[in-house]
Amino acid sequence: MNRRKWTFAVLVAFFTLAMVWLGYAFLSGEHRSISEEEAVFDLSAEQLFMDWNREGGKRFVDQTIIASGTITEMEKNSVILDNKIQVNFIDMALELSNGDSLAIKGRCVGYDDLLELVKIDQASIVN
Protein backbone atom coordinates (compact mmCIF):
# COMPACT_ATOMS: atom_id res chain seq x y z
CA MET A 1 0.00 0.00 0.00
CA ASN A 2 2.73 2.40 1.01
CA ARG A 3 4.66 1.62 -2.10
CA ARG A 4 1.64 2.32 -4.23
CA LYS A 5 1.21 5.71 -2.58
CA TRP A 6 4.83 6.53 -3.32
CA THR A 7 4.50 5.54 -6.93
CA PHE A 8 1.42 7.69 -7.19
CA ALA A 9 3.17 10.66 -5.58
CA VAL A 10 6.14 10.37 -7.91
CA LEU A 11 3.86 10.16 -10.92
CA VAL A 12 1.93 13.25 -9.81
CA ALA A 13 5.16 15.15 -9.22
CA PHE A 14 6.49 14.13 -12.61
CA PHE A 15 3.24 15.07 -14.32
CA THR A 16 3.15 18.47 -12.61
CA LEU A 17 6.72 19.21 -13.63
CA ALA A 18 5.99 18.23 -17.20
CA MET A 19 2.97 20.52 -17.27
CA VAL A 20 4.94 23.45 -15.87
CA TRP A 21 7.68 22.91 -18.41
CA LEU A 22 5.21 22.65 -21.28
CA GLY A 23 3.37 25.73 -20.09
CA TYR A 24 6.60 27.65 -19.88
CA ALA A 25 7.72 26.53 -23.32
CA PHE A 26 4.35 27.53 -24.72
CA LEU A 27 4.31 30.95 -23.06
CA SER A 28 7.83 31.93 -23.91
CA GLY A 29 7.62 30.54 -27.42
CA GLU A 30 10.62 30.21 -29.66
CA HIS A 31 11.28 32.91 -32.20
CA ARG A 32 11.67 31.76 -35.76
CA SER A 33 15.09 31.42 -37.21
CA ILE A 34 14.51 32.39 -40.81
CA SER A 35 18.01 31.60 -42.01
CA GLU A 36 17.57 27.98 -40.93
CA GLU A 37 14.10 27.58 -42.40
CA GLU A 38 13.40 26.04 -45.76
CA ALA A 39 12.28 28.67 -48.27
CA VAL A 40 8.69 28.35 -49.49
CA PHE A 41 9.22 30.55 -52.54
CA ASP A 42 12.27 31.11 -54.70
CA LEU A 43 11.92 33.89 -57.25
CA SER A 44 13.38 37.09 -58.64
CA ALA A 45 12.66 40.48 -57.11
CA GLU A 46 10.81 41.41 -60.27
CA GLN A 47 8.66 38.27 -60.18
CA LEU A 48 7.80 38.69 -56.51
CA PHE A 49 6.73 42.28 -57.11
CA MET A 50 4.64 41.34 -60.15
CA ASP A 51 2.95 38.40 -58.43
CA TRP A 52 2.21 40.56 -55.42
CA ASN A 53 0.53 43.24 -57.50
CA ARG A 54 -1.37 40.80 -59.66
CA GLU A 55 -2.86 38.54 -57.05
CA GLY A 56 -2.31 40.29 -53.72
CA GLY A 57 0.37 39.24 -51.32
CA LYS A 58 -1.46 37.22 -48.67
CA ARG A 59 0.27 34.00 -49.64
CA PHE A 60 3.71 35.57 -49.24
CA VAL A 61 3.21 37.29 -45.89
CA ASP A 62 5.27 35.80 -43.08
CA GLN A 63 6.74 33.16 -45.40
CA THR A 64 10.40 32.42 -45.88
CA ILE A 65 11.41 33.54 -49.34
CA ILE A 66 14.53 33.42 -51.47
CA ALA A 67 14.66 36.43 -53.78
CA SER A 68 17.33 37.57 -56.18
CA GLY A 69 18.17 40.83 -57.86
CA THR A 70 20.62 43.68 -58.24
CA ILE A 71 21.14 46.33 -55.59
CA THR A 72 19.74 49.65 -56.73
CA GLU A 73 19.84 51.52 -53.41
CA MET A 74 21.27 51.11 -49.94
CA GLU A 75 20.66 52.47 -46.46
CA LYS A 76 22.42 51.15 -43.37
CA ASN A 77 21.78 47.39 -43.38
CA SER A 78 18.92 47.63 -45.84
CA VAL A 79 19.15 47.27 -49.61
CA ILE A 80 16.70 47.65 -52.46
CA LEU A 81 16.77 45.06 -55.20
CA ASP A 82 15.77 46.10 -58.74
CA ASN A 83 13.67 48.93 -57.24
CA LYS A 84 11.11 46.26 -56.41
CA ILE A 85 11.87 44.85 -52.99
CA GLN A 86 13.45 46.20 -49.84
CA VAL A 87 15.57 43.75 -47.88
CA ASN A 88 16.57 44.29 -44.26
CA PHE A 89 19.47 42.12 -43.18
CA ILE A 90 19.97 40.67 -39.71
CA ASP A 91 23.67 41.37 -40.01
CA MET A 92 24.59 45.01 -39.50
CA ALA A 93 27.96 45.13 -41.23
CA LEU A 94 27.69 44.00 -44.82
CA GLU A 95 30.17 44.58 -47.57
CA LEU A 96 27.80 45.32 -50.39
CA SER A 97 27.57 48.08 -52.92
CA ASN A 98 25.20 49.35 -55.56
CA GLY A 99 25.12 47.13 -58.63
CA ASP A 100 25.91 43.89 -56.74
CA SER A 101 23.78 40.92 -57.75
CA LEU A 102 22.72 38.62 -54.99
CA ALA A 103 20.16 36.17 -53.68
CA ILE A 104 18.82 36.58 -50.19
CA LYS A 105 16.69 34.52 -47.86
CA GLY A 106 14.32 36.31 -45.55
CA ARG A 107 10.82 36.69 -44.22
CA CYS A 108 8.29 38.55 -46.32
CA VAL A 109 6.83 41.34 -44.18
CA GLY A 110 4.38 42.97 -46.55
CA TYR A 111 3.96 45.69 -49.11
CA ASP A 112 4.71 49.35 -48.74
CA ASP A 113 2.44 51.34 -50.99
CA LEU A 114 4.19 54.65 -50.32
CA LEU A 115 7.32 53.61 -52.20
CA GLU A 116 5.74 50.59 -53.88
CA LEU A 117 8.12 48.00 -52.54
CA VAL A 118 7.71 44.48 -51.21
CA LYS A 119 9.48 44.25 -47.86
CA ILE A 120 11.60 41.42 -46.56
CA ASP A 121 13.31 41.28 -43.19
CA GLN A 122 15.57 38.98 -41.12
CA ALA A 123 17.47 38.38 -44.32
CA SER A 124 20.76 36.66 -44.96
CA ILE A 125 22.72 36.26 -48.16
CA VAL A 126 22.50 32.83 -49.77
CA ASN A 127 25.03 33.11 -52.56
Binding site: F26, L27, S28, G29, E30, H31, R32, K58, V61, D62, E75, K76, N77, S78, Q86, N88, V109, G110, Y111, D112, D113, L114, L115, K119, D121
Partner: protein
Protein backbone atom coordinates in the same frame (compact mmCIF):
# COMPACT_ATOMS: atom_id res chain seq x y z
CA UNK B 1 13.14 83.65 -81.75
CA UNK B 2 10.52 84.43 -79.15
CA UNK B 3 11.34 85.80 -75.75
CA UNK B 4 10.33 82.57 -74.03
CA UNK B 5 12.77 80.56 -76.12
CA UNK B 6 15.56 82.98 -75.38
CA UNK B 7 14.91 82.76 -71.67
CA UNK B 8 14.55 79.00 -71.62
CA UNK B 9 18.26 78.16 -71.15
CA UNK B 10 18.42 80.70 -68.33
CA UNK B 11 15.41 79.10 -66.69
CA UNK B 12 16.94 75.67 -67.11
CA UNK B 13 20.15 76.84 -65.55
CA UNK B 14 18.34 78.08 -62.47
CA UNK B 15 16.18 74.99 -62.28
CA UNK B 16 19.26 72.77 -62.31
CA UNK B 17 21.00 74.98 -59.83
CA UNK B 18 18.07 74.89 -57.43
CA UNK B 19 17.87 71.13 -57.78
CA UNK B 20 21.53 70.59 -57.11
CA UNK B 21 21.47 72.94 -54.15
CA UNK B 22 19.30 70.84 -51.92
CA UNK B 23 17.06 67.88 -52.58
CA UNK B 24 13.49 68.70 -51.73
CA UNK B 25 12.72 65.45 -49.95
CA UNK B 26 14.43 63.40 -47.30
CA UNK B 27 13.73 59.78 -46.51
CA UNK B 28 14.25 57.22 -43.73
CA UNK B 29 13.73 53.61 -44.74
CA UNK B 30 14.76 52.22 -41.40
CA UNK B 31 12.91 54.51 -39.08
CA UNK B 32 12.35 53.18 -35.58
CA UNK B 33 9.05 53.03 -33.79
CA UNK B 34 8.70 51.26 -30.48
CA UNK B 35 5.91 51.00 -27.97
CA UNK B 36 5.69 50.13 -24.32
CA UNK B 37 2.93 48.85 -22.15
CA UNK B 38 3.57 48.94 -18.43
CA UNK B 39 1.32 47.17 -15.98
CA UNK B 40 1.94 45.61 -12.59
CA UNK B 41 1.58 42.18 -14.17
CA UNK B 42 3.78 42.50 -17.22
CA UNK B 43 5.92 44.88 -19.23
CA UNK B 44 5.56 44.59 -22.96
CA UNK B 45 7.91 46.24 -25.38
CA UNK B 46 7.98 45.99 -29.14
CA UNK B 47 10.19 47.53 -31.76
CA UNK B 48 9.86 48.14 -35.46
CA UNK B 49 13.08 49.13 -37.21
CA UNK B 50 11.70 49.20 -40.72
CA UNK B 51 9.43 52.19 -40.67
CA UNK B 52 9.37 54.39 -43.72
CA UNK B 53 9.29 58.15 -43.32
CA UNK B 54 9.40 60.83 -46.02
CA UNK B 55 9.54 64.57 -45.44
CA UNK B 56 9.05 67.27 -48.02
CA UNK B 57 11.47 69.95 -46.88
CA UNK B 58 9.77 72.83 -48.64
CA UNK B 59 6.20 72.19 -47.54
CA UNK B 60 6.98 70.46 -44.24
CA UNK B 61 4.68 67.59 -45.15
CA UNK B 62 5.48 64.25 -43.66
CA UNK B 63 4.35 60.71 -44.48
CA UNK B 64 5.06 57.64 -42.40
CA UNK B 65 4.19 54.08 -43.19
CA UNK B 66 4.85 50.96 -41.14
CA UNK B 67 3.95 47.31 -41.37
CA UNK B 68 2.51 45.90 -38.16
CA UNK B 69 4.05 42.57 -39.00
CA UNK B 70 7.52 43.98 -38.54
CA UNK B 71 7.26 44.61 -34.79
CA UNK B 72 9.70 42.54 -32.78
CA UNK B 73 8.67 41.35 -29.33
CA UNK B 74 10.56 39.74 -26.52
CA UNK B 75 8.37 36.65 -26.73
CA UNK B 76 7.12 35.02 -29.90
CA UNK B 77 3.69 34.51 -28.34
CA UNK B 78 3.29 38.26 -27.72
CA UNK B 79 3.94 38.87 -31.39
CA UNK B 80 1.37 36.28 -32.32
CA UNK B 81 -1.30 37.80 -30.06
CA UNK B 82 -0.46 41.29 -31.28
CA UNK B 83 -0.80 40.39 -34.95
CA UNK B 84 -3.65 37.93 -34.77
CA UNK B 85 -5.92 39.24 -32.03
CA UNK B 86 -5.18 42.89 -31.39
CA UNK B 87 -4.13 44.77 -34.50
CA UNK B 88 -5.34 42.02 -36.87
CA UNK B 89 -2.47 42.58 -39.26
CA UNK B 90 -3.88 40.27 -41.91
CA UNK B 91 -6.82 42.68 -42.34
CA UNK B 92 -4.99 45.90 -41.44
CA UNK B 93 -1.38 45.24 -42.41
CA UNK B 94 -0.12 48.77 -41.97
CA UNK B 95 -0.35 51.89 -39.91
CA UNK B 96 0.29 55.26 -41.45
CA UNK B 97 0.66 58.89 -40.55
CA UNK B 98 0.24 61.84 -42.86
CA UNK B 99 0.74 65.31 -41.56
CA UNK B 100 2.61 68.52 -41.49
CA UNK B 101 5.40 69.92 -39.38
CA UNK B 102 4.05 73.22 -38.05
CA UNK B 103 6.39 76.16 -38.61
CA UNK B 104 9.17 73.98 -39.96
CA UNK B 105 12.36 75.72 -41.05
CA UNK B 106 14.38 73.22 -43.05
CA UNK B 107 17.24 75.69 -43.36
CA UNK B 108 17.83 75.82 -39.64
CA UNK B 109 21.04 74.03 -38.66
CA UNK B 110 20.90 72.27 -35.28
CA UNK B 111 17.87 71.58 -33.16
CA UNK B 112 14.27 72.73 -33.31
CA UNK B 113 11.17 71.43 -31.55
CA UNK B 114 7.98 71.50 -33.55
CA UNK B 115 4.45 70.19 -33.43
CA UNK B 116 3.64 67.67 -36.12
CA UNK B 117 -0.07 67.55 -36.79
CA UNK B 118 -1.78 64.97 -38.93
CA UNK B 119 -3.87 61.86 -39.33
CA UNK B 120 -2.72 58.61 -37.82
CA UNK B 121 -4.43 55.47 -39.10
CA UNK B 122 -4.23 52.07 -37.48
CA UNK B 123 -6.56 49.09 -37.23
CA UNK B 124 -9.02 50.87 -39.53
CA UNK B 125 -9.32 53.91 -37.25
CA UNK B 126 -8.03 57.39 -38.10
CA UNK B 127 -7.21 59.91 -35.39
CA UNK B 128 -5.86 63.43 -35.54
CA UNK B 129 -2.65 63.60 -33.57
CA UNK B 130 -0.44 66.48 -32.52
CA UNK B 131 3.00 65.20 -31.70
CA UNK B 132 5.80 67.22 -30.18
CA UNK B 133 8.85 66.37 -32.25
CA UNK B 134 12.49 67.21 -31.91
CA UNK B 135 14.14 67.87 -35.25
CA UNK B 136 17.92 67.91 -35.51
CA UNK B 137 19.65 68.89 -38.68
CA UNK B 138 23.24 67.95 -39.42
CA UNK B 139 24.12 69.02 -42.94
CA UNK B 140 21.69 67.08 -45.12
CA UNK B 141 20.56 64.63 -42.45
CA UNK B 142 17.38 65.32 -40.50
CA UNK B 143 16.72 63.35 -37.34
CA UNK B 144 13.18 63.43 -36.00
CA UNK B 145 12.38 61.96 -32.63
CA UNK B 146 9.72 62.09 -29.99
CA UNK B 147 7.22 60.28 -27.83
CA UNK B 148 3.45 60.23 -27.72
CA UNK B 149 0.75 58.24 -26.02
CA UNK B 150 -2.08 56.28 -27.57
CA UNK B 151 -5.18 54.88 -25.92
CA UNK B 152 -5.79 51.26 -26.81
CA UNK B 153 -9.56 51.70 -26.92
CA UNK B 154 -9.32 54.62 -29.36
CA UNK B 155 -8.23 52.17 -32.04
CA UNK B 156 -10.93 49.63 -31.34
CA UNK B 157 -8.48 47.07 -30.16
CA UNK B 158 -10.28 44.53 -28.04
CA UNK B 159 -8.47 42.86 -25.22
CA UNK B 160 -10.11 39.84 -23.60
CA UNK B 161 -11.06 40.47 -19.93
CA UNK B 162 -8.71 37.70 -18.88
CA UNK B 163 -5.72 39.62 -20.24
CA UNK B 164 -6.95 43.12 -19.38
CA UNK B 165 -4.53 43.28 -16.47
CA UNK B 166 -1.55 42.46 -18.68
CA UNK B 167 -1.95 45.27 -21.15
CA UNK B 168 -1.90 48.96 -20.31
CA UNK B 169 -4.78 51.20 -21.35
CA UNK B 170 -2.33 53.83 -22.51
CA UNK B 171 0.54 52.78 -24.72
CA UNK B 172 3.61 54.94 -24.92
CA UNK B 173 5.10 55.23 -28.41
CA UNK B 174 8.66 56.34 -29.21
CA UNK B 175 9.92 57.15 -32.64
CA UNK B 176 13.15 58.11 -34.35
CA UNK B 177 13.69 58.79 -38.04
CA UNK B 178 17.07 59.50 -39.53
CA UNK B 179 16.27 61.00 -42.91
CA UNK B 180 18.72 61.30 -45.80
CA UNK B 181 18.27 63.19 -49.07
CA UNK B 182 16.04 61.29 -51.45
CA UNK B 183 17.31 61.14 -55.01
CA UNK B 184 14.09 60.53 -56.96
Amino acid sequence: MSKVNKLFPVFMFFAMFAHGQESARVIARQGQVSFFSYTSVEHIKAENNQVLGIIDLTSGEIAVSMLMNAFIFEKALMREHFNESYVESDIYPKASFEGQIQGFDSGLEGEQTRIVKGNFSMHGVTKVLEIKTKIERKDQIFVLSGTFEALVQDYQIKIPPLLAGNIAKTISVDFRFECEPYAN
